[in-house]
Point group: C2
Chain length 145, copies 2
Amino acid sequence: MLRLSTKGQYGVRAMFEIARGYPDNPVTIRKISERQDVSVAYLEQILNKLRKAGLIKSVKGPGGGYLLSRKPDNISIAAILNELEGPVAITSCLNPDEGCVRIDSCVTHLLWKELGKQVEAFLKTITLRNLAAGDFVKIRRRKSS
Amino acid sequence: MLRLSTKGQYGVRAMFEIARGYPDNPVTIRKISERQDVSVAYLEQILNKLRKAGLIKSVKGPGGGYLLSRKPDNISIAAILNELEGPVAITSCLNPDEGCVRIDSCVTHLLWKELGKQVEAFLKTITLRNLAAGDFVKIRRRKSS
DNA sequence: AAATACTTGACAAATTCAGTACGGTATTTT
DNA sequence: AAAATACCGTACTGAATTTGTCAAGTATTT
């Protein structure tokens, strides 16, 4: 359950590759494709979205490719996934675009909302730099009510 | 992103209704259907799985219905969703049944694994009793590395 | 001018989801 | 015993989503 689409997965991996060229060594789509084993055509769709979102910028011509727009420790996994898959929404009625007819009577509404918040918070704490270094934030649980 | 299927959602809501009859007041499918606005036929599929998993038991005949097998504070949301949707697996390669060909080279493997663990841990702390009472565990974040 | 790269939109096969339909079986009440 | 009530199980299907591919551009540098 709770699976992420391939677009999101590939997107993060692509960003990781682009981060390797930071700050001024453009990485071509072809290189990303080879290293991460994803087709060039599919990557184009993904990178296009990320570029429009301002997370990366492109340099044309020979020697060109993609570059990070910001520092690796300033780009979170949450930011990447948000562009490719939209915000975390455990249920469709939690999606801002849709709406919930039975919020008041729904006993689970708050539960899913809270879960979504937890996930989002976690993904916000992980940046491309953390990813490259392999160090993730550990969370300590504690009852509060 | 990260949406839960309706089976999981309806399953939790159905369990909530059954919990209302705890400890010895069987709740019929029809009642659950009316209260939660889910078709009887669809609920049958869902409750069947939960019964086989031992979370609920059924009483036949007039006056019959479904009962919780254990105390409400001993049934977690994680347990319910696990039966209906399988374990949390952010990526298909984290599903125990499948497998990952590129674990070693995959930079994101640990990230998704960690996220899955966090989600699972959260859902384990919430029980049907918490759900009925509306009190959820709050988590406090803290850097550890 | 050629080579290299990025850009865009349409399209389609495959998979998953959400739910229905139907034909049972078991138990209790009258 | 029969009727009523309730659960059990499989098969099927229409719709939506996912996961890509394909084709035909446009832009920039050497």
